[in-house]
C-alpha cells in the first residue's frame, strides 16, 4: 500500500479549512504568543540569569568564562539528553550515573591493556548499550516500573564498577585519547563539541525518525499506541539503549577530562540530569518535551554553579540555590499547564 498511497496523494492547498476554522486558527496563533513566552520562559530565565551575573561579576561575560560554563554543562547535558528520550516515554532511568562510571572504567581498563583508544571507546559505548538493553528488557518483560528497575540497576552497575576496578581508580591514558576527547577544537573544548553533536543527533531522532515519533506516542498513550500496531516493547528497549549509550559517552568524556576513571565517578549525576530535563519542560508524565529545553536546563544549572563560584558563594549555599531554582522552574512549568 506504500507506493499506491504515495501515488494517490494529491497536491493539496496548504489550508483547506472553512473561514470559521481559519478564524479559530488565527485566535490560536495569537494565543501562541502567550504560549511561546510561557513555553520558552525557561529561555528568558536563562537570559535573566546571564544578565544578572554580567552585572554582578566582571569576569562572567568573558569568552573564557562562557566557554567554561559550556564545558561544565556538557557532561550533564549529554546524560540529560538520553534521559529526555526516556522521560518522553513516561519512563525514568536512575542508573545513568552508574552507567557512565562503568563505561568510563571499561574504556580505561581496555586502554591500560594496550587496546587502541578508539576501540576502547567503542567497548565503553557497548557497555552503555548493554546496560540500557538490560533496563529496557527488565521493564518490558517483567513489567516492573522503570523507577524500580533502574533504582536496582543504579546499585548493581555501581557494584559491578567497584568489583571490576577493585575500588581503585585507573590512570595513564594515551595522550591522543585525552586530546581528542577532552582537548580543544579551536577555542572550543571537545566535550562541548561532543555534547553539541549528541544534541543535534537527538533533535534529529526525536523530530524525524520513527523511534522519536513512537517515543512521544508511547508517552502520550501507551495502550492506544500498542493498539495502533506499534511494537511498543521493542521501541522502549531501543529508547533505554539510547539513554545508556549517551550515559556511556558522558562517562568516556568524564574520564578523559579527569585523566582518570574512578569507580565512584558520576555518582549523583542522574539527579542533575533529571533536573535539567524536567526544567527544560519534558513532562515526567510523558508525551512532551525536547532537546532544546533540556540543553537550556543544563545551561541554567551550569550557569548558576559558575556564577555562584565567581561570586564566592560558599558551596553549601550553592546546593541550596540550585535546589530552589529547580523547584521554581518546575513550578513555572506547572503554571504553564
Amino acid at each position: 500500500m506504500l507506493d499506491r498511497e504515495r501515488a494517490q496523494m494529491p497536491v493539496m492547498p496548504p489550508e483547506a479549512t472553512t473561514p470559521r476554522l481559519e478564524q479559530a486558527a488565527n485566535r490560536r496563533r495569537r494565543g501562541d504568543v502567550a504560549q511561546f513566552l510561557l513555553r520558552y520562559g525557561i529561555v528568558l530565565a536563562l537570559l535573566a540569569l546571564q544578565i544578572a551575573l554580567a552585572f554582578l561579576s566582571p569576569v562572567f561575560l568573558t569568552v573564557d568564562n562562557q566557554l567554561q560554563v559550556l564545558l561544565q554543562a556538557s557532561i550533564n547535558a549529554i546524560i540529560a539528553l538520553g534521559l529526555t528520550f526516556v522521560i518522553i516515554t513516561a519512563g525514568i532511568d536512575l542508573s545513568v550515573g552508574s552507567t557512565a562510571a562503568l563505561a568510563g572504567m571499561v574504556g580505561a581498563k581496555a586502554m591500560g591493556a594496550e587496546v587502541p583508544w578508539g576501540v576502547a571507546i567503542l567497548l565503553a559505548l557497548g557497555v552503555g548499550l548493554a546496560v540500557g538493553a538490560a533496563n529496557g528488557l527488565l521493564i518490558t518483560r517483567l513489567r516492573i516500573t522503570p523507577f524500580i528497575v533502574t533504582l536496582g540497576t543504579l546499585s548493581v552497575v555501581r557494584g559491578l564498577t567497584l568489583i571490576y576496578s577493585e575500588g581503585r581508580p585507573v590512570f595513564g591514558f594515551p595522550k591522543a585519547f585525552n586530546e581528542r576527547v577532552a582537548g580543544d577544537l579551536g577555542p572550543v573544548p571537545m566535550p562541548v563539541v561532543i555534547a553539541g553533536g549528541v544534541a543535534l543527533a537527538s533533535w534529529f531522532v526525536l523530530r524525524y525518525t520513527r523511534l522519536g515519533e513512537y517515543a512521544y506516542a508511547i508517552g502520550g498513550n501507551e495502550e492506544a499506541t500498542r493498539l495502533s500496531g506499534v511494537a511498543v516493547d521493542r521501541t522502549k528497549v531501543g529508547i533505554y539503549m539510547v539513554c545508556g549509550l549517551f550515559a556511556a559517552i558522558a562517562g568516556v568524556v568524564l574520564s578523559a577530562r579527569l585523566r582518570a576513571a574512578e569507580p565512584n565517578a558520576a555518582s549523583g549525576y542522574e539527579l542533575d540530569a533529571i533536573a535539567a530535563t524536567v526544567m527544560g519542560g519534558t513532562s515526567l508524565f510523558g508525551g512532551e518535551g525536547g532537546v532544546v529545553g533540556t540543553i537550556i536546563g543544563a545551561l541554567i544549572i551550569a550557569t548558576l554553579r559558575n556564577g555562584l563560584n565567581l561570586l564566592n558563594v560558599q558551596a553549601y549555599y550553592q546546593q541550596l540555590a540550585i535546589g530552589l531554582v529547580i523547584i521554581l522552574a518546575v513550578a513555572l512549568d506547572r503554571f504553564r499547564q
Partner: protein, 515 residues
C-alpha cells in the same frame, strides 16, 4: 410551591413574580481555537427541572463549568435569586449554594459512604478533630431523607456504578444547595436505577430546589424535565416546554437541520469472504467463537455487557491472547499474536474507548492519523513530514474532520471529530476488515450519522465490517446480519430481516437458547 403535572410548566420561571433561582445573561467564553459560548442566556426557576441539551461541543460543559466556578466567562452576568454574582472557584460556587454532580465519578474508593459524602467538610469537635458519631448520624439522616438505601459504612469501592452515582448525588445535596447541576447522571444507570434517580430529583424539585439537568438521552427528558434549553455551536437556540416538544424537534434544533434518516443503511452487493474466524477461545472469556464476514458486509454483534463482544474483537486483533482458534483473511490463514500482526493481515480495530485506547491525546491530528501507518511515510525510519501532512490532510478533507489545522492536538477536538481521527488512522492502513467497537458512544447525533455514512462508504468499497454496539437500534439499523453473544459464545446468527429487538434481547439474555 408544588408542581401540578397537568399544567404547562413553562410558567415556572415567573412563579409568584419572584426572581428565578438562576439567571444567565449574555455569557460568552472563548478558548484558544474554540469559541465555546457566545451570548448564552438561561433561566431556571426554584422548583424546576431544567434540561440542557445540545451536541458535543455545543457549549453545555463550558456553561456548567462557568456556573461551578471552574471557568470565568469573558462576558455576561450570572444572577442567583436576583443577585448578580461572580463565581471565582468551585468553593465559591458551593458557598453560593450551587452543587454539581459530576459525570466522571469523583469519589475516594477506599473511604466509606459517609466519609465520602462529607469529605472536606467533616463536622468538627475541636480544632482538627472530626466528630465521627455526628458525621455518621448526619450521613444516615441525609441518605434517609433522599430515600437512598445504602449503609453509610460501606467502602465506596464495593458499590456498583449506580450506587456510586447515588453517593455522588448525596454529596452534592449535603449542603442543601439551592441549585443542583447534574452532568449526564444516567449515562451508566439501568432503567430501574434511572427511575430511582428521577424519584429523588422530583423530591428535590418539590422542595423548591432548582435543577439544571444535562443529558444526551432525549427520550428521558419528557419524564423528568419541565423545560428544555437547546444550545448549538456555543449559542442559545431555544427554550421549550419539555412535555410539548418531541424528540425529532429537539434533534432538529440541536443539529440545525432535520435528519431524514437516522441510519443511512444502503444495501450493497456482498463480495467474497473477507474474514473467517473458527473456534476462537480464550479460557473463561470466549468459547468456540466462529463466524464469517463477507466483503461489503456489515455484521452487527449484540449482547449484554460482559458477553464477550469486545473480548472477541481484542482477541481477533491480537490485543489480548487467545488459547485456540483460527483466523482467515480472504481465505488465507493468518497468525495474529499482536496488533501489528493483525494490521499486516488487513484487520483494523476502532477500540471501544477512544480516549484511552484510540488516541494519543497530547499529540496532533497528523501524528494520530499516521500512527498505524507511519512506516509508509517514513522510508528508512526517517519521517517525511510533507508526506505525512499530505496523508493527514487527505483524511481531514475526506472525513470532514473539523480541526483548525493538522497540527492541532486531538485532546482539544470534540468527541465526534476525535472518533473520525481514529477512523482515519484505520482507513490509512487500508484494511480488508474493520472492527467498530462502540463507534458512536458519547458522540452527538450529527456525528453519529456521519460515522454511519462512513461505514456505508467503506462497505461499498469492499471492506468487511464487524459492528459491536450496545445501542440495539444502531446494530439493527446498520447490519446486514446480527450475531448475538451470550456468556462468551455466539448464540444466534440472524439475517437482517429476522433481527428484531425482541428476538435479539431474548438471545442476549440467554432465554432463547432452545428457540
Amino acid at each position: 410551591m408544588g408542581t401540578d403535572p397537568g399544567e404547562p410548566t413553562a410558567r415556572a420561571a415567573t412563579t409568584n413574580g419572584r426572581p428565578p433561582a438562576l439567571r444567565v445573561r449574555g455569557v460568552s467564553k472563548a478558548f484558544p481555537g474554540v469559541r465555546a459560548l457566545r451570548d448564552v442566556g438561561l433561566e431556571v426557576a426554584a422548583g424546576e427541572v431544567h434540561a440542557l441539551v445540545g451536541e458535543n461541543g455545543a457549549g453545555k460543559s463550558t456553561l456548567m463549568k462557568i456556573l461551578f466556578g471552574v471557568h470565568q466567562p469573558d462576558a455576561g452576568t450570572i444572577e442567583l435569586g436576583g443577585r448578580t454574582v461572580t463565581i471565582p472557584s468551585p468553593q465559591a460556587a458551593q458557598r453560593l449554594g450551587i452543587s454539581m454532580v459530576h459525570q466522571e465519578l469523583s469519589l475516594v474508593p477506599a473511604l466509606d459512604v459517609a466519609r465520602n459524602v462529607f469529605l472536606g467538610r467533616e463536622p468538627a469537635r475541636g480544632p482538627g478533630l472530626v466528630d465521627w458519631p455526628r458525621l455518621y448520624r448526619d450521613a444516615r439522616a441525609l441518605l434517609d431523607r433522599l430515600g437512598i438505601r445504602l449503609d453509610p459504612r460501606i467502602p465506596v469501592r464495593r458499590l456498583s456504578t449506580a450506587q456510586k452515582q447515588m453517593v455522588e448525588i448525596a454529596r452534592a445535596l449535603a449542603w442543601r444547595p439551592s441549585l443542583v447541576i447534574l452532568d449526564e447522571p444516567t449515562s451508566s444507570l439501568t432503567p430501574a436505577e434511572i427511575d430511582e434517580l428521577f424519584r429523588i430529583l422530583r423530591g428535590l424539585r418539590d422542595d423548591g430546589v432548582a435543577i439544571l439537568y444535562i443529558s444526551h438521552r432525549l427520550e428521558e427528558l419528557g419524564q423528568i424535565a419541565d423545560r428544555v434549553t437547546v444550545l448549538r455551536d456555543g449559542g442559545y437556540v431555544a427554550t421549550l416546554d419539555a412535555r410539548r416538544t418531541t424528540i425529532p424537534e429537539l434533534i432538529r434544533l440541536m443539529v440545525g437541520r432535520s435528519l431524514e434518516q437516522q441510519f443511512p443503511k444502503e444495501v450493497v452487493p456482498l463480495g467474497d469472504e473477507a474474514l473467517r474466524v473458527i473456534g476462537l477461545t480464550r479460557r473463561g472469556v470466549l468459547r468456540d467463537v466462529s463466524f464469517a464476514i463477507r466483503a461489503s458486509e456489515i455484521v452487527g454483534m449484540a449482547g449484554l455487557v460482559g458477553a464477550g463482544r469486545s473480548e472477541t474483537a481484542r482477541a481477533l486483533f491480537g490485543a489480548d491472547p487467545h488459547d485456540a482458534g483460527e483466523v482467515y483473511v480472504r481465505g488465507r490463514r493468518v497468525t495474529v499474536r499482536s496488533p501489528s500482526d493483525a494490521i499486516r493481515a488487513g484487520i483494523g480495530l476502532l477500540p471501544e474507548d477512544r480516549k484511552t485506547q484510540g488516541l494519543v491525546l497530547p499529540l496532533s491530528v497528523a501524528t494520530n492519523i499516521s500512527l498505524a501507518t507511519l512506516p509508509a511515510v517514513s522510508p528508512g525510519g526517517v519521517v517525511r513530514h510533507r508526506l505525512r501532512a499530505a496523508l493527514a490532510r487527505r483524511f481531514v478533507r475526506d472525513l470532514r474532520i473539523r480541526t483548525p489545522n493538522i497540527a492541532f492536538r486531538t485532546r482539544n477536538l470534540s468527541g465526534g471529530n476525535q472518533q473520525k481521527v481514529v477512523l482515519a488512522k484505520w482507513l490509512a492502513s487500508d484494511p480488508r476488515v474493520l472492527i467498530f467497537d462502540e463507534p458512536t458512544r458519547g458522540i452527538d447525533v450529527g456525528a453519529k450519522v456521519e460515522v454511519y455514512h462512513l461505514m456505508t462508504d467503506l462497505a461499498r468499497r469492499g471492506v468487511g465490517i464487524l459492528l459491536i454496539s450496545s445501542e440495539l437500534p444502531e446494530v439493527l439499523g446498520m447490519s446486514d446480519r446480527v450475531l448475538v453473544m451470550h456468556e462468551g459464545r455466539i448464540v444466534a446468527d440472524l439475517p437482517r430481516t429476522e433481527a428484531t429487538q425482541e428476538r435479539v434481547i431474548a438471545h442476549a439474555s440467554g432465554e432463547a437458547v432452545h428457540a
